[in-house]
């Protein structure tokens, strides 16, 4: 009986020790992961910001007024006159 009790006790002590270590380990792990998560989120934010900037830049370049001015003045393009338009039937 006594031997059994002792073994049981030992098992319990071992379990307590291992869970204690596990708690410390997971704590540490969670910190490491959180730091990693924050870093990746920052990377994502930066990429989003970059994307937004590029989108804005693209939109500014493709602004209809600019396209209109550039094509008319720089490239000398004109709207075709109605009489110059031919309808092609398929």
């Amino acid at each position: 009986m006594k031997v059994l009790g002792g073994i049981f006790m030992l098992i319990l002590i071992a379990a307590v020790l291992s869970t204690a270590i596990a708690v410390v380990w997971t704590r540490h792990e969670s910190r490491v992961l959180f730091v990693e998560l924050t870093r990746l989120q920052n990377v994502r934010d930066d990429l989003n910001i970059e994307y937004g900037k590029l989108e804005l830049e693209q939109a500014t370049w493709a602004e209809p007024r600019r396209v209109d001015d550039e094509s008319r003045q720089k490239l000398g393009m004109v709207n075709p006159k109605p009489q110059d338009i031919q309808l092609v039937r398929q």
């Binding site: 910001i49 937004g52 900037k53 989108e55 804005l56 209809p64 109605p82 338009i85």
Partner: protein, 604 residues
């Protein structure tokens, strides 16, 4: 010398009086255990009983909850072009008393944020009891980094977002704008604020004495970025509308103007332009009146553009068909209940179609006189006049229409040519879109693909007849020809010139010139309304001022929306065929324009 006998052999009195070793031990142990018990009790008190208090106090000294800024959703046009984009900026804030301690760094700091040193010092002094003041908001990230690199104690940065509108003044009224805290203030930014805004997150961090973040501890609330929205607006058509409207208003020296284009099959607003406008990227200094979305917040008297709706009532009454019975409009004067209803020309006998083509006030009034006031009122209401379109746009006006029961005889006649009620340009466009889509009204919407309720307002047959009747307006002899012609496309529409209502009556030399139209006439896809307010230079007729704007914009819009021509080789519906595959080497035919003058001296 006899040594002194040692006394140790016999216990002294003192010794006998002292407690035994055992008792002494007991005492020491008791005292020590009392002391340690006290320590344990204290430890228990600190660690268990008052743990929370001390933990909180401790945390409060280095743990901080920091907001995580989220960007506002992007607004796209129907083709995915961004119309409003949030970009990150950095705001610099400071703890004034801390900053004032390091006086030697003030000049550099003042320079970096573009402030006068004295002014900065005074600004901080005045707020020295506070712990948080903004030094400069919304700096570009690079400039802000330069400030942070100065490492002035108590100066910190904070990420925020700023809204940019690449199309600037072109889309300003529809989109509206946001305030410095990124909340929508006007327009769709306000209407969809909840959708666009997102929810800022929060994280717990450890900070050192200087306020720098040492470590992120945990995420309290995950940030929820704003959601994007795709509008029904087409940026290219919007630009066309804006540009033509602006040019025409500047040429005719008009006060203001609006244009609305609606996709008749879905009720989607393709373009809504207003003049005057403002730059939403630089709000400061803009005039509040230029920020109004006139197409929705301002009302106009529709004038002759209301006539198709009177005829809608006339056709549904069963008393009239597009071609008969003929109505005698006489010599251009019709005295009705002591009131002179006038036309610009003596038009004689006119069919209901002719009333539209010639824009005869007398004809419209005479038709209305024979109609039941209830039917006419219900028809007007059915087309959405006198009630908000429920588009959800902030500040939308409902317009005004008197209940049919209270209409007098004369009022009914006057309402037939568009006085005595007022509508927003959007309502008018929506009414025309309803006629164009076989009498089915869709709720006007700014969101692409939103499934709006559709309601049959009038019989599809009557709607088709009305479109054909409106085609006559653009044919030779009609008030719209030749100003609203679009080569290769059939145009249906109605001109309108109205005296503007001013305090105490109608202004004699102050007109609003309108054109409402539907293209292509044989299979309508788009309806548009142009209203130009008080043109001073040149003509003030709706066809001459607003008509060309309509024609030029819709010509481009038809091309951009890939609408196939329905009237190949002709300038107007039923016109001479100029070529099998389109117009070839022909000039626009010359036709005599017909004046569409407003009635003079109207009593409302």
């Amino acid at each position: 010398m006899k040594p002194r006998p040692r006394t140790t052999a016999q216990p002294t009195r003192r010794r006998t009086a002292a407690p035994s070793t055992r008792r002494r031990m007991t005492l020491v142990v008791a005292v020590l255990s009392l002391a340690s018990l006290g320590l344990v009790a204290r430890a228990f008190d600190l660690q268990v009983v008052r743990k929370e208090f001390y933990q909180n106090q401790g945390d409060a000294r280095f743990l901080r909850e920091l907001p995580i800024a989220v960007s506002r959703g992007t607004i796209f046009d129907r083709n995915g072009e961004p119309l409003a984009v949030s970009t990150p900026v950095v705001s610099i804030w400071a703890n004034p008393s801390q900053v004032l301690e390091s006086e030697d760094k003030l000049p550099a700091l003042a320079k970096a944020i573009g402030m006068d040193e004295g002014a900065l010092k005074q600004y901080l002094m005045q707020r020295s009891e506070r712990e948080f003041v903004y030094l400069k908001r919304q700096m570009s990230p690079d400039a802000a980094q330069a400030v942070i690199d100065l490492a002035v104690p108590g100066v910190n940065s904070q990420r925020e977002f700023r809204r940019f509108y690449p199309s600037g003044p072109v889309t300003a009224h529809v989109l509206g704008f946001t305030n410095i805290d990124d909340h929508g203030q006007e327009g769709l930014e306000l209407a969809f604020d909840d959708w666009l805004a997102g929810k800022p997150g929060a994280k717990r961090v450890i900070r050192d004495r200087m306020g720098h973040v040492v470590e992120d501890v945990e995420l309290v609330r995950a940030p929820q970025p704003g959601r994007d929205i795709t509008l029904s607006i087409d940026r290219r058509i919007q630009f066309l509308a804006y540009n033509e409207l602006k040019n025409t208003i500047e040429q005719s020296d008009a006060d203001s103007g609006s244009m609305v284009i609606i996709d008749v099959r879905t009720g989607e607003v393709l373009a809504m332009a207003n003049w005057p406008t403002y730059n939403p990227n630089a709000l400061r200094g803009s005039n509040p009146s230029s920020r109004r979305n006139r197409a929705m917040t301002d009302v106009v008297e529709p004038g002759s553009t209301i006539k198709p709706f009177v005829l809608a009532a006339a056709l549904s009454s069963g008393k009239y068909t597009p071609n008969g019975p003929l109505i005698d409009t006489g010599n251009g004067h019709f005295y009705y209940i002591s009131h002179d209803i006038r036309d610009t020309h003596a038009n004689g006998m006119l069919s209901p179609t002719g009333i539209l083509a010639k824009s005869s006030n007398i004809g419209a009034a005479k038709v209305a006189i024979t109609l039941d006031a209830g039917l006419m009122y219900d028809t007007y209401r059915g087309f959405g006049f006198g009630a908000s379109t429920n588009s959800g746009f902030p500040g939308e006006a409902a317009g005004y229409l008197k209940p049919g029961k209270s209409w007098g005889m004369l009022e009914k006649a006057i309402l037939a040519y568009g006085y005595g009620l007022n509508v927003t340009p959007l309502q008018l466009a929506n009414g025309y879109a309803t006629i164009a889509d076989n009498g089915v009204m869709h709720l006007p919407t700014f969101v692409k693909g939103s499934d709006n309720e559709a309601k049959q307002i009038i019989d599809p047959k009557i709607a088709n007849e009305l479109v054909q009747m409106m085609v006559s307006v653009t044919q030779p002899g009609g008030t719209g020809a030749p100003y609203v012609w679009i080569a290769n496309y059939g145009v249906a529409g109605k001109t309108g010139t109205a005296h503007k209502a001013v305090a105490g009556g109608y202004a004699k030399n102050n007109y609003s010139s309108a054109f409402a139209g539907i293209v292509p006439a044989s299979d309508p896809r788009m309806a548009a309304v142009v209203v130009i307010d008080n043109p001073r230079k040149g003509s003030y007729y709706g066809a001459l001022v607003s008509g060309p704007v309509f024609a030029k914009v819709m010509d481009g819009a038809l091309r951009l929306m890939d609408v196939p021509p329905d009237n190949i080789g002709r300038w107007y519906v039923g016109g001479p065929l100029q070529g099998q595959n389109g117009l070839t080497g022909n000039k626009q035919p010359v036709v005599e324009p017909v004046d569409d003058a407003p009635v003079e001296e109207v009593t409302p």
